[in-house]
Amino acid sequence: MDILGLYHYWVFAVLLMTGFYAIVAKPNLIKKLIGLSLFQSAVFLCYITFGKLAGGTAPIVGKGAELFSSPLPQVLILTAIVVSISTTALGLALVLRIKEAYGSIEEDEIQEQDAP
């Protein structure tokens, strides 16, 4: 059971949870969005690690190399990256509107203003 082989997945786990912690614990809305994008980029790392083949090269045929890493996870992650950036862009637009409406982007201050 070579530790080195699984190291990538442990980094994935740590990254996932750092992002998740930022989302859960940090009241600042922008810090939450940063945590969210970290959370998603951890998943990208996990997918790409699936696709890696020992001794393989990037799946571009024709350069003489025979062993290729799997292209499928890479395609999925191309899509996921753009999904992540779209969500971040929308989140930031919301943060701007919240800043204009409430004058603050700290979650607890917003809740105070909302409490009836």
């Binding site: 998740f20 998943v43 996990c46 999925l76 779209s86 969500t87 989140g91 919301l94 919240i98």
Partner: protein
């Protein structure tokens, strides 16, 4: 000529209309185009539903590639029923909501709103039709982003903070789902649902599979607002524009529940030993808690829309309860309740949209005397309320009937479940009647005295389209209460396919 391409056209029609709608600047044109697209999608859904009756399933290979390699669409009974719910809710909400939307949105931003509406419709329909795990994730993101935009459209500033919370929890849920299918992909090597089901047996070590099942269930529970993870739902539905809530309340959470059931029953339960017991063990207490807490809070809620939102949490608990019985009759009840609840809740929120045109707000004391000023709308509101409670003769009653019969098959546990169901339908009677009573007998509420409400008693703004739509929904509630061959048949064959494994 188009028949074989119908599953694809179901998604392509709203998808290609959405960008087109953004360009339609003149007022009202965007709404017309969106409604036309939604009605076309509804027509396709009906044709699909009719062609699927009798355990047939339609498959479609996108791009012409074979199943596990390319992406495949699959419409079975369960999918067809959900398609009917989604497109129906969207068409009714759009048809009825023009006037109320015109008041809620600034004219320059109307095309964007309707484009987002069509994108949400595309997302939901895309999920219902797709048979590829990652494809479901992509369309789940499309529908989520679009519904954030729809909810944030309203004049109320509290909608913004509610949508932000929904965005965070929704994205976390979707990413959990992504991690789940990632682990399953790693162990089975495929993304196609049918292929995945076939290959799970061969997987020797079950640890990643159990963790994957955990991630998928938690992720989809977040999206489906199942009990402990439903915190985003009440605010998001309460402060959104009324028409958005009418649309999303009827189908947003059901789509996530649909994916959860398909994943769990078709793939995980068939091949992971003991998973059926795990699924029932974890989700049944959550369902029961969801029912009791949802109805309980709804009984004491002052804000009309938050009250209905909490009742949605309870109704989702019903569906989950039916599903967690892990029997054909249980599933049958859950799926049927998806259909009936969409009818009832969609009608109620449309009625709230009609009331809001005249009343100054939607707290209970603000809708006093509405029964006299708008008798027809109020009557439809009562009919939909009765269907929510499950009074016989309405659609809600049938799903309650099947749920109780399904529960009774489980002996002592069944009796307890029946008591929960009956207790919560009593609570439903309580909160529906609180609304009806304050609407009928509370003294006429004059807006001047209430500080923060905005008096907008402009009768002129009140179009006659909304009451007619409302009555169509109310009559549908009654019709499907007495003669509901189509949804019944679809739900039954859906339950059989889910438990019988992939055909």
């Amino acid at each position: 000529m188009l028949a074989p391409h119908l599953p694809m056209l179901q998604v392509v029609v709203p998808l290609l209309m959405a960008p087109f709608v953004v360009l339609l600047r003149p007022r009202g044109l965007a709404w017309a185009a969106a409604t036309m697209a939604s009605l076309m999608a509804f027509a396709i859904a009906i044709v699909l539903a009719l062609s699927v009756v009798g355990d047939a399933t339609l498959t479609y290979r996108v791009g012409g590639w074979m199943a596990p390699y390319g992406i495949e669409l699959r419409v079975d009974a369960f999918g067809a029923l959900l398609l009917l719910v989604i497109t129906g809710a969207s068409s009714m909400a759009l048809l009825g909501g023009q006037r109320s939307l015109e008041r809620a949105l600034p004219p320059t931003r109307e095309p964007y709103y309707f484009s987002a509406w069509l994108l949400a419709l595309t997302g939901f329909v895309g999920i219902a039709v797709s048979a590829d795990a990652f494809n479901i994730f992509v369309f789940m993101e499309v529908s989520s982003l679009a519904s954030y935009v729809l909810i944030a459209g309203g004049p109320d500033r509290r909608a913004l903070s509610a949508v932000f919370k929904y965005l965070i929890m929704g994205t976390v849920g979707a990413t959990f789902y992504l991690v789940g299918i990632g682990l399953v992909y790693m162990m089975t090597g495929t993304l196609n649902l049918a292929d995945m089901a076939g290959r799970i047996e061969a997987v020797a070590d079950t640890r990643p599979m159990i963790v994957a099942a955990g991630f998928i269930t938690v992720g989809l529970a977040l999206k489906a607002a199942i009990f402990p993870l439903h915190i985003w739902l009440p605010n998001a539905y309460a402060y959104a524009p009324h028409v958005t809530t009418a649309f999303l309340a009827a189908c947003a959470t059901k789509v996530a529940l649909y994916v959860l059931l398909r994943f769990d029953f078709l793939i995980l339960q068939q091949h992971l030993s003991g998973h059926a017991f795990q699924f029932a063990g974890y989700l049944m207490p959550l369902a029961v808690l969801g029912i009791l807490v949802g109805s309980g809070v709804a009984m004491f809620e002052r804000d009309l829309k938050r009250l209905l939102a909490f009742s949605s949490v309870a109704q989702i608990g019903y569906m989950l309860l039916g599903a967690s019985l892990v029997s054909v009759s249980g599933l049958h009840a859950a799926i049927l309740h998806m259909f009936n609840h969409a009818l009832a809740k969609g009608g109620l929120f449309l009625a709230v949209a009609a009331f809001a045109a005249v009343t100054s707000g939607w707290r209970l004391e603000q809708i006093g005397g509405i029964a006299r000023t708008m008798p027809w709308t109020f009557a439809a509101f009562v009919v939909c309320g009765l269907s929510l409670i499950g009074v016989p003769g309405t659609a809600g009653f049938l799903s309650k009937w099947y749920l109780v019969t399904a529960a009774l098959e489980h002996g002592a546990l069944g009796i307890a479940l029946v008591c929960v169901i009956l207790l919560s339908s009593l609570m439903a009677v309580a909160y529906v009647w609180r609304m009806v009573e304050s609407a009928c007998f509370a003294p006429d509420f004059d807006a001047e005295t209430d500080a923060d409400s905005t008096p907008n008693r402009d009768f002129a703004a009140f179009s006659h389209l909304l009451p007619t739509i409302l009555w169509i929904v109310a009559l549908a509630n009654l019709y499907f209460g007495l003669a509901n061959a189509l949804p019944l048949e679809l739900a039954k064959s859906a339950a059989r396919t889910l438990l019988g494994g992939l055909p």
